[in-house]
């Protein structure tokens, strides 16, 4: 038996591997989008797929997102399993009608006769110095649309496992890829990829008894840093990585909050009518008698995504998270 070294790999590499393995395992899996073929995608996530599987299975489409998603719907109706790439978060908006009016409800409107096994990959979020329209956190729109699963990885291993699960799902999955984590590395063995992760289960990334940070995607690493820094303040923070926004894992989240009695939701998306409002409401409805303080939100401001030279003021950072933790009515304990 040979031992394969566990090497650092990037999230982008894990995503490429997931696509490649899915395509090799199932010839109905087709990758399509803008620049995904010859170029391998602007983030190189589809690198090598057209070479290995042919341009018919990894297709450079015309530049039209509604057309990309709309034709993918037709392909899924005929039994293919398309994986669509939307080049950037804000470039996915032209496909919104197809997503909301067809993708999300085809199974429902046909009483289950016509499910759409579709994966829609969307690079999202800020922190990469992108100019206007390259850094949106659009998850709230997708979460508010019944019929879609909404998934976002925060680790290299999850990027592989969740993308495999998304492609294998018979329901449409909006797969949100945190752009700023594409080049982040952690130890992951590409020769023995992590098993497919179930969609719909959150995971406790760090245990602690003082308060729970509920977060996902690009904000997970920030919360991990905040939890480390919080030790100096005497707080042991628990970090819950949601991984799946729809379905929402109330069980894992509430179990954590019941243990700690305090919670802060952290995300880049705006706070007004954002995911944090829903999460805070769910936690409050389910864990009210365990709560020592209101559930707080640390989010992007409710402004159009800022220009790159100002984005650091917008994105939730360690200090803002710790300030929120500090406002969780600790005086009641003393």
């Amino acid at each position: 038996m040979t031992t394969v070294a566990v090497r650092p790999a990037t999230m982008a590499q894990a995503l490429t591997r997931a696509l490649r393995d899915a395509m090799a395992a199932d010839e109905s899996v087709h990758v399509m989008g803008e620049d995904v073929g010859t170029l391998g995608g602007v983030f190189r996530v589809t690198d090598g797929l057209a070479r290995e599987f042919g341009e018919e299975r990894c297709t450079d489409t015309p530049l039209a997102e509604a057309g990309i998603l709309g034709t993918a719907v037709g392909m899924a109706m005929y039994g293919l399993r398309p994986v669509v790439e939307m080049q950037f978060d804000a470039f996915a908006y032209p496909a919104f009608e197809q997503l909301v009016s067809h993708v999300a409800r085809m199974r429902n409107r046909t009483r289950g006769a016509m499910p759409l096994p579709l994966t829609i990959r969307v690079p999202y979020g800020g922190g990469i110095g992108g100019v206007e329209h390259h850094s949106d956190s659009s998850e709230a729109y997708y979460m508010a649309t019944p019929g879609l699963h909404v998934v976002t990885p925060a680790t290299v291993a999850d990027a592989y496992g969740l993308l495999r699960a998304a492609i294998a799902s018979d329901d449409p999955v909006v797969f949100l890829e945190p752009k700023r984590l594409y080049w982040s590395k952690d130890s992951w063995n590409p020769e023995d990829p992590t098993p497919v992760e179930p969609i719909g289960r959150a995971v406790v990334r760090r245990s602690g008894r003082s308060a729970t940070l509920i977060t996902y995607g690009p904000s997970v690493v920030v919360c991990m840093e905040a939890a480390e820094a919080a030790r100096a303040e005497g707080w042991e923070l628990e970090v819950v990585d949601l991984r799946s926004l729809v379905p929402f894992d109330d069980e894992t989240v509430c179990a954590s909050v019941r243990r700690t009695g305090r919670a802060v939701v952290v995300h880049e998306s705006g706070s007004f009518a954002g995911p944090g409002g829903e999460i805070a409401a769910r936690v409050t409805e389910r864990c009210f008698h365990h709560l020592e303080a209101p559930v707080l939100r640390v989010a992007g401001f409710d402004v159009p995504y800022p220009p790159p030279m100002l984005e650091r003021h917008h994105l939730p950072g360690v200090d803002r998270i710790l300030d929120a933790v500090g406002r969780l009515q600790w005086e009641a304990e003393s």
Partner: protein, 380 residues
């Protein structure tokens, strides 16, 4: 080095030779809509096909009348009638083979029924007991699409997928004149042409997008001319001439099946009824215009051709009408039965498995229904 010296090293040359990527001439539609009935072309039309078309058109018109009557009786929430457009509706279904797919818009119930879908199931959307009442795979008919032109890229994707799998499948997608202004119309035609997908796009230009006439919709010479911009042929046909529509669509389907790629067909027709039973067409058009089109009626045109050529007599006409009445009586009887509804169906097909969140909401509705049943029992 001076600027002049730098420039000396640069020698302008002409760009690579330019030429059109496709010869546009064969793609252009004819100057006039193609006609068969009342022309020499009718001589070579198959009498059996003409008789079939006639019977199906009479049937279709009766279906429209019956469905509109059902709205007045409260049995249908709404009905967008295709009266006056039966030639397009019927021909679109008849030109397809068993394995082909039809992608209808919301006004195309007749085409859906002509393709073989149960007449009651085809009305599920408009009765309101569910959205799509039929299994799309059974007759290869996509759900009636209410959002305009959004079904067109689906047709392209399905036809493309079938070709990838090596299957002999053509998709025929239906849209109205208003729908051609939508972005999805453009994107679908562009994708279809780039992929050379086996698709036929049938635009029924019935003069109005609810109330807005075509001259406020487009400045194109014709809707068929739009095809040239995508590199596919555009064909113009008299949409009230069933034989002509059948021939043009058949040619387009054959062309697609043979690997020739997509075609855009514009059928010139007229929406004789209002947009739906909820619309008042007198607010935006005059009786004279409607009357002009009533004198170019698809059924009358066909009936005249058939009777003049001795292919149809009084008995034939009566028999077609009687068949239509039988269908209408059956439709009436079945539609007058209340549909069986199960409120729990709301949660049954949102996902393959309901999410925990939906299971909670399902339980809530279940409890409400039980409480309701209990209180009804108490009051009785």
């Amino acid at each position: 080095m001076t600027v002049m010296e730098q420039r000396g090293a640069y020698r302008p040359t002409p760009p690579p030779a330019w030429q059109p990527r496709t010869d546009p001439a064969p793609l252009l539609p004819d100057a006039e809509p193609y006609r068969v009935l009342g022309t020499k072309a009718a001589d070579r039309a198959d009498p059996e096909l003409l008789r079939t078309l006639y019977a199906r058109l009479v049937h279709g018109r009766r279906y429209n009348a019956q469905a509109t009557a059902l709205t007045k009786q409260g049995r249908l929430a709404v009905y967008p009638s295709s009266t006056g457009q039966e030639a397009c509706e019927i021909a679109a279904a008849l030109v397809l083979q068993e394995q082909d797919w039809l992608f209808p818009s919301y006004r195309d119930t007749l085409a859906v029924v002509a393709r073989g879908v149960d007449p009651v199931e085809a009305l599920t959307l408009l009765r309101g007991d569910w959205h799509t009442g039929y299994d799309p795979h059974e007759h290869r008919v996509a759900p009636l699409s209410t959002p305009l032109a959004t079904q067109l890229p689906h047709a392209v994707g399905l036809a493309h997928a079938a070709r990838i799998k090596g299957d002999d499948v053509v998709a025929l997608a239906m849209v109205g004149d208003g729908g051609t202004s939508e972005g999805d119309f453009h994107e679908a035609l562009n994708f279809a042409a780039v992929w050379q997908a086996p698709v036929v796009f049938l635009v029924q230009n019935n003069g109005f997008a609810i109330s807005v006439p075509l001259d406020k919709q487009t400045a194109a010479p014709s809707l068929a001319h739009k095809a040239v911009g995508y590199g596919m042929p555009g064909r113009l046909v008299d949409g009230n001439d069933a034989a002509a529509v059948h021939e043009v669509l058949s040619d387009a389907v054959r062309h697609a099946r043979a690997g020739g790629g997509p075609t855009l067909v514009e059928a010139i027709t007229y929406r004789v009824d209002a947009h739906t039973n909820a619309d008042d067409a007198t607010r935006y058009r005059g009786d004279a215009e409607v009357e002009t089109w009533r004198r170019h009626d698809p059924i009358e045109l066909l009936e005249r051709e058939l009777t003049e050529r001795g292919l149809l007599d009084e008995d034939g006409i009566r028999s077609a009408r009687e068949d239509a009445e039988t269908m209408a009586a059956d439709l009436r009887a079945r539609m007058n039965q209340d549909p069986v509804l199960d409120p729990m169906d709301l949660f049954a097909h949102v996902y393959a498995e309901p999410t925990p969140h939906l299971r909670e909401q399902r339980a809530q509705l279940q409890a409400e229904l039980e409480a309701e049943a209990e209180s009804e029992g108490t009051h009785r």
